[in-house]
Symmetry: D2
Subunit: 253 residues, 4 copies
Amino acid sequence: MIQMTLIQIDNYGPWTVTPNPCNESDLQILQAELFADVQRQIAMKKGLVFYTRFDNMLAVTNGLNEEDHMRIQRSIRNRYPITISMGVGTAKTPYEAQKIATEVLQNKGGAQAAERKEILAIDSLVKPEDSFVQMAHIDINGVTDSLTDIIPAFDTNFLVNKAQHYLMTKLIEKGALLFFIGGDNFMSPCNELGTEELMKILEEIDDEIDIALKAGVGRSDNAEDAAYMGDLGLEEIREGNNEELVYVLEKKN
Amino acid sequence: MIQMTLIQIDNYGPWTVTPNPCNESDLQILQAELFADVQRQIAMKKGLVFYTRFDNMLAVTNGLNEEDHMRIQRSIRNRYPITISMGVGTAKTPYEAQKIATEVLQNKGGAQAAERKEILAIDSLVKPEDSFVQMAHIDINGVTDSLTDIIPAFDTNFLVNKAQHYLMTKLIEKGALLFFIGGDNFMSPCNELGTEELMKILEEIDDEIDIALKAGVGRSDNAEDAAYMGDLGLEEIREGNNEELVYVLEKKN
Amino acid sequence: MIQMTLIQIDNYGPWTVTPNPCNESDLQILQAELFADVQRQIAMKKGLVFYTRFDNMLAVTNGLNEEDHMRIQRSIRNRYPITISMGVGTAKTPYEAQKIATEVLQNKGGAQAAERKEILAIDSLVKPEDSFVQMAHIDINGVTDSLTDIIPAFDTNFLVNKAQHYLMTKLIEKGALLFFIGGDNFMSPCNELGTEELMKILEEIDDEIDIALKAGVGRSDNAEDAAYMGDLGLEEIREGNNEELVYVLEKKN
Amino acid sequence: MIQMTLIQIDNYGPWTVTPNPCNESDLQILQAELFADVQRQIAMKKGLVFYTRFDNMLAVTNGLNEEDHMRIQRSIRNRYPITISMGVGTAKTPYEAQKIATEVLQNKGGAQAAERKEILAIDSLVKPEDSFVQMAHIDINGVTDSLTDIIPAFDTNFLVNKAQHYLMTKLIEKGALLFFIGGDNFMSPCNELGTEELMKILEEIDDEIDIALKAGVGRSDNAEDAAYMGDLGLEEIREGNNEELVYVLEKKN
């Protein structure tokens, strides 16, 4: 079972334009620092946050309990001009878990409902014995040689975004999520996704848009170790001159 | 003329996996804080940075000279485990400007060339009298009511990403760029893009993927004021119950 | 028993002037962010850090084990241009604990020994059943009315520093430490210090330098809760119009 | 003439305990990040901030105009739960300048007056042609060999604080200020202080409390360059095996 938390800034949209629009640079700094801050706190318990839309962040939080979540909310309230609400859900697949996390929070009121503030809505928490996270770290083969050092920066950005869009489209059908994590890297929480299914997806994308991808898949009882196993899997593929599409590593506890 | 700067972390990919892969959470925090840091420094001179791929960031830097760029490089070197190289270009369109900024930096060596470190490659700087920036702040109509409060968080994220992909595809043909700035918001540096052309693009996207967008367009001699005029333009449209697709405001100096 | 950790930047002095002196502003930012960063991580386990000399920070770390310390070291290495070494000691008094923490680290090499890097030297860790922290939160009576709003800012700063110097001098004799925590506030880890002894110290300072102080004393099995109980103690004294010098609160577990 | 700015958090004390006391760790992080943030912004214009009491910070701001100050206030308001007020003064000596800066702000209301919020009170700004800053960078001879690597961390901290207290006491009589900047380092804005006077102060402290200090004195038309010249002066003394007590360097513009 995977546990996911939806982190939502309360009434953010209206706040950004009241009484007048904030400078865009201030909002960008606020959003980036909030993400870094929440990441640092969740990482202390081996969870992992994805910036998603910045005002709505999704996190894999196996190992974090109710107090851990409340502590983060209080810490943000004390240091930022905004507050955050959270919804927590668990399921066999990441897609289902974030769906439940969203619903349990939506039931407490809208994201822009003035009366909804710093809600912590927990549908369920994963029991240690049931805790399992599968993460695929996906990157583009030789992006530096083939793109970064040759074509304009925005064109590379465009191709990476295109790969993201195609990957999202295919993974969501399998109950898996996909997040861009910088450079040419994507992280996919993908419990229940089979190795064959993932290989097929990477092959299809190569055929359809001519972008060669590879994936290191990690498995553990928490997000941090699963992601790390995925990193090691990618290293294995690189050492094999990218002959393999997918390499799976599991952390034994 | 618009001035764009490509900010590239030197030899970042290899650094992240040497001697062993860094924890993903540490990399996410490093990237987000670097972006926030560079943003704060560039904003002091009324420029604006977009996180782009995090290891490669694009910035509109009208008003920043050579010393301003060097100062940022030094400040990052003194506080981070990595260094940054920069390329600067100017042109009539943002696409051309970033293309020149990329090429002038690529000519100094590859992003992963160990010998290339903290390069500042300036092709040209915009003269104050020629300085002009047009920014379109684009958002999705009623995203909170129609998406955030109703469907799962990742589905909203998926639709926003889809809108981004379609917008990028169409704007790049006009020499304009597009960056996601959080929530349901996009910022498009778009010198030379006509109001009719932009309206046509928004209408096409509504037809093709059924996502209703609107745009506030701002014009000024710097990125900050152009973005702010764009924000005010969006407010005008909202006050008019989203009957208009595009609203243009220019800041007189 | 109290557990204290000495956090020391490795070879910091020479680094700041090699090859040339860093801009003072960059060093000030680096030091403040490192402190905030370590604080956030240690606080997740209910410890508390004091900035002390910034390149040498002292922390009350009851509840943090070896892995917690290693995790912080790795996280700093991955995001800063410097590394940190740590020494950990436990004792009946804070003074003894930091003395042991210092010695166990000094035994591993000098702070500016090029070969000493990211050492974690643990003399001992407090067992949960023996864990006890006493914290005194001391402030100056009516500093805003009597100083901040009346005399020059630097004169107020001077008087606060004077109070700090006198408090340090007297508390160190009792095996207690004292740290300035901002405004007119001081925090004193003071296991083994009796209420009568503390009252006597505050009275002496009022007599000697005419600065009226009060103290909320908190007791718990961790630094965070002890400090919080101390805060509540101060509130009790304020509600009693500062008639009491010391108010003690203990958190029952 | 030196220009100094007093930066004061509005109504901070009451905020920290309403409705309940904030966790001390959150306050420490907030204060350190606010200082780092203001430092980064002021440094972009070659000013320098000292954390002073954290809720009251003093800065040397030659070169910063009214818009620069307003920009920083707005940027803090948009990203923190608190706001800041500022007072600006100029004079022949740093002490006089901060005195004027304090008075002009005090005249606008008390630091804890609920109605006083985000005030910018400017008594005067230094004209470019009159701009002059003298900074003394003072440190303790061989602190690592003689203290850090030998005695307990808190004892070193105590001695550094003692040196600070004696230095403050003597410098304030000469119209100079003194701030601890980390390690064994102090920075003293000291326009109008003669080299002989400074040498005499250092000699007196060596006699009175047996702490050997040295000082690099820098002069320029802004705080950043003056501090840097002071750093270079210290390097000169080190290269001469600390035979000199004071070394003065002036930056020619």
